[in-house]
Amino acid sequence: MTAQDAVIWAHGLTKRFGKVHALTGVDLVVPPGSCYGLLGPNGAGKTTAIRVFATITSPDGGEVRVAGYDVVREAQQVRHQIGLAGQYAAVDEDLTGWENLYIFGRLFRLGRRKARQRADELLDEFALSHAAHRLVTTYSGGMRRRLDLIASMIISPKVLFLDEPTAGLDPRSRLQIWDTVRALVDGGTTVLLTTQYLEEADLLADQIAVIDAGTIVARGTPRDLKARIGSRVDVVLQPAQDLTEAAAALTTIAANNTEPDVDPDRRTISIAVAANAITLPEVVRHLDTSGIEVLDVGIRHPSLDEVFLRLTGHQGLTPAPTDLEASHHR
């Protein structure tokens, strides 16, 4: 895909803040109509990348094109094509939800009537009309984030940047945001999404780039990335079954003849297999012909957490929160 066809195209993007190298040569190609996930821990450079793409901050090096325009030389053209929503819900707390949308609409150069119409429409569509004329200070974290997301959709942007759109949200609000993002992508919007939640990237993104310490360490579909790690076959043996004999039989299906993990106390054996190399019935048949007696058997696919650990060599990712308070960002 060329720089012209891609909706977001970055080549050798670098950005420094004083002595801190936030981005150290990022290459990224996002095809139109896709949802692209930028996955990485805090401080990996995700937000900096989004800020460069959204023309808020200029890159120090490299070339970046968004919607076909150069983010430095043609920033104003880029701004007509993009929407931005983020973890810091960039809405005005001292105004009502409706006023926020109206003012942003006017600043997108919509006429008065059109801006009014659009504000009503969006609040209605995203189930916020009951709170339209309340000050944003009275909104819950989820409502605020939804308003922020809506505000980025006023002009139906070609490209939408979502910087950790569900960070700190309760599970129900996260589901609402996910539904909205899916609907947008189905409607043809290209979405670039940063997240540190594996589940989110796995569910929403067609393509994922894993970013660590300012550079992209891996990219591919969620399936590709998981395939790099492979799967595991876990068996629980019958009390009478000999452990060593079972381990030897299982080694024959292991990827690259890796040694199985044997837990004599719990009488379980776990072995690594290549991703999608073997199906459950095949495992069962193999055990059967080898005369291994098992209580339970299963194939476990890796989580992106394990993928990330393998790719970066460190555990950087936060598990999805289940009981986090609704965000109050200040």
């Binding site: 023309t55 007509h80 993009i82 931005l84 960039a90 009502t96 942003f104 006017r106 200040r330």
Partner: protein
């Protein structure tokens, strides 16, 4: 790929953006009736407090009516302090994510600060009218006719506008809203080291030099002169006090010339 060509960011659309930002700031005020009440009661309190509590103990040469001496000072002081509200307003916008959203939008870059200061100026005009009305009730008068009186008000508003840009620049430099609020408290002593309440002649020499060169003093002297109120010194004075109108216009223009480009640049720069 079909493209609708974006409209060039012309002066007219930039002005429209500025008006929208101004509208936004005025709407914010509407949601804070407490702040409106405060804006309206502060002038009354200031005239009562300074005019009658301090005034009873302050004797001024060339006039036994302290309110006549005080009012030009209070009008300028109220303008200086009111205009600095841009400091906290801009700092607050920066601390929330709103500024980042504005930076990602196709609006004119300079419109944000211009809109903010325009809204502040409108509020300032209301404040000036209220304060003058309170002064009139308590016996203050302008004696030189319509022209010089309007001239004095124009001077106060020019001074006000310059200070609001100074506030906008400072607001874009501080890191948090809290720092901005703390910085605001410094403004009162700076404004008071002047001839707002008492003539500078009685001050210690060093303080007198500072007070005489304080642009606030020049603005106050110019207003006293134009309103025909007492307290304009004769004879041997410093240049700004001898040429108060020129000094006020000059200092306001210098502040504007420095602060406008820097504040607008900061709007871009802050992103890094």
């Amino acid at each position: 790929m079909t493209q609708t060509l974006p409209r060039a960011s012309t002066l007219a659309s930039g002005l429209a953006d500025g008006v929208t930002v101004m509208n936004r700031n005025l709407r914010k005020l509407r949601h804070k009736p407490g702040q409106i009440i405060a804006e309206l009661t502060v002038p009354v309190m200031m005239v009562l407090l300074f005019g009658y509590i301090f005034g009873s103990a302050i004797a001024i040469d060339g006039g036994d009516n302290y309110i006549e001496y005080l009012m030009p000072g209070l009008l300028v002081m109220g303008a200086a302090l009111g205009a600095l509200s841009t400091l906290t307003a801009i700092a607050r916008d920066n601390s929330l994510g709103v500024m980042d959203r504005l930076r990602s939008m196709p609006m004119a870059r300079w419109a944000v600060t211009f809109g903010q200061t325009a809204a502040t100026l409108l509020i300032g005009i209301v404040g000036l009218v209220v304060m003058s009305a309170v002064g009139l009730i308590f016996g203050w008068r302008a004696h030189n006719g319509i022209g010089p009186t309007l001239g004095a008000f124009g001077l106060i508003l020019l001074f006000y506008y310059a200070v609001s840009w100074l506030g906008a620049l400072l607001g874009s430099l501080v890191d948090t809203e809290e720092t901005a609020t703390r910085l605001m408290t410094l403004a009162l002593p700076i404004v008071m080291i002047s001839n707002v309440f008492v003539p500078t002649a009685g001050m210690p020499k060093a303080l007198q030099v500072v007070a005489d060169w304080n642009p606030v003093s020049a603005a106050v002297t110019a207003c006293r002169d134009l309103f025909g109120n007492p307290g304009v010194p004769f004879g041997d004075t410093t240049w700004p006090i001898a040429n108060p109108v020129l000094a006020t216009v000059g200092s306001a223009l210098v502040i504007l010339a420095i602060c406008i480009p820097l504040a607008v640049m900061r709007f871009q720069k802050n992103a890094d």
